[in-house]
Amino acid sequence: MSGVIGADAPAEPQAAPAQRRERPQAEDRGILSVADWRRGRVRLTTRLTHLILLLSLVVVGLGPILWLAKSAVTPTQDTLRQPLALWPNGIDWANLAEAWTRVEIDKYFLNTVIIALGVWLVQVVVATTAGYALSVLRPRYGKIIVGLVLATLFVPSIVLLVPLYLTIVQPPLLGQSLINTFWAVWLPAGANAFNVLLVMRFFDSLPREVFEAARMDGAGPYRLFWSIVVPMSRPIIGVVSVFAVIAAWKDFLWPMLVLKDPAMQPLSVRLPQLQQFIELDVFLAALAIATVIPIALFLVFQRLFLNGASLGGAVKG
């Protein structure tokens, strides 16, 4: 079972004809029929439209990123005077090194990585254990919990902003503020209803005979979880992981609120403030560095994103 097929498994039945349609022969058709494609005028217009579409996508989608990559190694004066020229006065590789060391992007980069890894771990642990308890072990009160988890999807996140902040400032039982600790970002990330539902759907689709067989062979609930369910659920753990890391990397408002100490802040929080006191070329180099990891993840897990988004849409629907 490849990762992508596994990820598709819990999607809406709507996706089923999609897969069937991907495969078959040439008469696989969309809006235009085979006959349409044979007509010269239609074909020419379509080809031309697609060419224009491709060019616009390159300019609009890739353009700004390429510009950023170019400007990251361009001297400030060139970027200011001729923003669209290609290195009129040569390439300045030193920008990147300066951003990394002198502006301490390395530190904020590391903070971002620590935050992302923690968020990833918390989300995966919460989602898999909860999915296992609710979809495989199925206690009688499970429906109530699922309902309560589902209900949180309907509460806009802004309602949570202030009370959640106060929870972090004065956490119950702990007696010590979590402000300026990574826990403040890690822990609330676990309360992600979307992940729980996604994993539950996947677990629901696993064959129950395997669980029963493992039970017959004497596997307890922990053994069943660790040796059977977790290995079988690698595809969905992959989906949750990639989205957890990307979301943590993008997050801005929440880390800005709870990580006030600049030494703890991730790139997203630090970059807007750095802008005020570093030179433009170094700043743009810093922006480029902040973009490398998400883009790399995207390129590696492209299919996951391009199928995963539809999977997200299916769940939202």
């Binding site: 950023l68 806009p156 309602v159 391009l306």
Partner: protein, 327 residues
């Protein structure tokens, strides 16, 4: 132990899988508290612990808190004090509120105007691409991957109002501009929406593409038999087939734009002259940018009001559209 219900007592039938299952279910029900401890009960709770911990502390409790705090004065030092509807009165009498509401509506309207049709058109065109469709979707999705902070700071530079600004240089190629972009009250909001559309359209395109693949080819065949050309097929088959998804993306976009924060916060900080201050920025201002200490009560009151408006809007919307949505 009280659940000895005679109706579920297994009749003397041959032991089919069904009867066994029923027996197991019945015994399980009869086991009661002691059985719960002997069986999986405690272990299930162990597995539920992470969920309960994070959702109670960071989701359910804050939701309840929000409803309570809106009627309190809280400053973290003195004990919270009940003040009735005072927070709501404070918020409603804030002269900035009207401005913020109008701005948010303006943002939503512009975002619909730009952000709603563009992904649809692109997705419909893209669904007809036969070769390298993956390349198209990857290119369209790229801006979604760029961290929003990086995107906003980058676009802020693109929006430089001088003739040497990136966008003004491009505009000059076509003999237009220079435009003031973010510096002018009239163009600031459209500029923000343009950026927001750029950074979000890819996600919507992917959703539409998935829905487009699900349109049954037979419908197009049938339309052709009836003599429909390309445009009529798009208008009478494709769009109606997408209406379920279109309705959902519409409501999601409204809910999303009502909570817009990062874009105006980073691009204009609400200026010039509060022309881009949104409701969420106002909430942020009450709670976190107050020199007198956070007015958490007012902030929660406003966020509750926004949530209620959104809920009412969604309810009305779904009621109105139920008749013509898919199944």
């Amino acid at each position: 132990m009280t659940q000895l219900t005679p109706t579920t007592a297994p009749p003397p039938l041959p032991a089919t899988a069904e009867t066994i299952e029923r027996t197991v279910a019945a015994t399980r029900r009869r086991r009661g508290v002691a059985g719960w401890f002997r069986g999986d009960g405690p272990h299930i709770l162990v597995f539920l612990l992470p969920l309960l911990f994070s959702f109670i502390l960071f989701s359910w409790k804050p939701i309840v808190d929000a409803a309570v705090m809106a009627f309190q004065h809280t400053n973290l030092i003195a004990p919270a004090e009940w003040v009735g509807w005072e927070n709501f009165a404070t918020v409603l009498s804030d002269p900035l509120l009207g401005k913020a509401v109008v701005n948010t509506l303006w943002f939503a309207a512009l975002a619909l105007l730009l952000g709603y049709p563009i992904p649809l058109v692109v997705a419909v065109l893209m669904s007809e691409v036969r070769r390298a469709r993956g390349l198209y979707s990857a290119l369209a999705y790229l801006p979604v991957i760029v961290p929003p902070v990086v995107g906003a700071l980058l676009w802020k530079f693109f929006y430089d109002a001088s003739p040497n600004g990136v966008f003004n240089t491009i505009a000059a190629w076509f003999g237009a501009g220079p435009f003031p972009w973010l510096q002018d009250q009239a163009t600031a909001m459209p500029s923000i929406v343009l950026f927001a559309t750029w950074s979000a359209a890819g996600g919507t395109i992917i959703i539409y593409l998935a829905a487009l693949v699900g349109v049954a080819p037979e419908l197009y065949d049938a339309a052709e038999v009836d003599g429909a050309g390309v445009w009529r097929k798009v208008w009478h088959v494709t769009i109606p087939q997408l209406r379920g998804v279109l309705l959902i993306t519409f409501i999601l976009q409204i809910i999303g734009t009502a909570q817009v924060f990062l874009e105006p916060f980073l691009l204009t900080a609400g200026g010039p002259a509060n022309s881009t201050t949104t409701v969420l920025m106002l909430i942020y201002k009450y709670a976190f940018q107050n020199s007198l200490g956070g007015d958490y009560g007012a902030a929660t009151a406003l966020s509750l009001m926004l949530a209620v408006v959104l809920a009412i809007f969604s309810a009305i919307y779904f009621r109105l559209t139920r008749s013509w949505s898919t199944s």
